[in-house]
Symmetry: C2
Subunit: 222 residues, 2 copies
């Protein structure tokens, strides 16, 4: 690969390669040297020109995934044709069906073995997803009468934490059936909190994603 | 301090001192040397006779706290005079009111700065508390008709994770008011799942513990 003259393309290439390696080998087992090897002609100096450290690359990779995904969430949040409850449902559907999901579940490592990735997902969930996407939707739902709660901030945080963390087979290493049952309980929890939005299409999709992930784990064990 | 002739008392002393130092300085900032210094005349060799490493001491400290607390939970689980729903309520009351709580909240560090402690709490919650204490109570509740669910394992795990992790100010560094509101949402979530057990006494106690913790944080910031 020839040295790229456009810095933003160099950065994109570094992140593409790093993402793939972090997912395949795990963050801890990927060295800057591994990343360079897969970048063809790029020098160590060229990487360090853009990133101070491997950790810097990790956060850039996570940031990029997050901002792609956040664009989809923002599109739902900004729609004018749905009430709050409908938007909350739409946001879970969009998340489960976004293009990167199958690829991610097909190559993702167990996040418990990658504490830095897990911590970054946790932080992003609490500090970005909850206040910037879920909370405005819940506030709209309170205003339009489709959601009833006295504690919108806490409800937003709990919902997205349970969805992103507890029902996530990459963290808990659940089987397809366990993931399905967790999502059923998540749906009942939401219903009990006055937000009845989980349907069969969503629980089927969760089972499917979890089974893709388990096949990948089975592969990498051999 | 004279060298103790009874090994179980030596171990107890090491754990007492280590617990105090881990809580005050943080696990990462406590060295074996610090522990020795606070043990008076005990030699490095005497510590290594009982523990392979500092991490070994940490797990022994956590195990001891857990087994003290588990004894209280087992007492509730084994009672014959309560149905499942009543036992679940009693178990939360006992946990909030157990003697070690105020001391713990008065000296505890933020667990996000102590990933090893956080991970061990998470693991203990999922692998011990959920299956051995909450699940048998939920199964009893299903049998006696006081709890209704098709997914007892998942319900047990979700309930205890939200209680131990999400409503825990040591992890999320919540103010007393935020902790109170989180516990209110936790109560509504339980009610929605058919387990209406959170009462004013419990939410008041959560506010009180969280405020003890915040005072301690204020102190250690100076």
């Amino acid at each position: 690969m020839a040295r790229n003259k456009h810095p933003e393309e160099t950065v994109r290439l570094i992140l593409d390669v790093a993402f793939r390696l972090f997912m395949e080998k795990g963050y801890e087992h990927t060295s800057i040297q591994d990343i360079i090897k897969h970048l063809g002609g790029l020098s160590k100096g060229a990487i360090y020109h853009h990133f101070k450290s491997k950790e810097d690359i990790l956060f850039a990779v996570a940031d990029r995934m997050t901002s792609e995904s956040n664009q989809l969430l923002a599109n739902v949040r900004n729609r004018k044709d749905l009430n709050g409850r409908e938007k909350l449902k739409a946001i879970f559907k969009v998340s489960l069906n976004r293009p990167v999901q199958e690829e991610l579940f097909a190559v993702a490592p167990n996040l418990r073995g990658n504490p830095k990735l897990l911590l970054s997902l946790l932080q992003e969930t609490i500090e970005d997803a909850a206040p910037n996407y879920i909370l405005p939707i819940i506030r709209q739902g309170i205003a339009d009468g489709s959601i009833e709660t006295d504690y919108p901030e806490e409800l937003a945080e709990l919902i997205i934490l349970v969805a992103n963390i507890w029902t996530n087979p990459m963290i808990f290493n659940n089987s397809a059936d366990e993931s399905y049952r967790k999502f059923m309980v998540f749906g009942q929890m939401l219903k009990g909190l006055g937000v009845d939005i989980v349907d069969g299409e969503m629980t089927d999709r969760v089972r499917e994603l979890s089974s893709i992930y388990q096949k990948n784990k089975l592969h990498s064990a051999h």
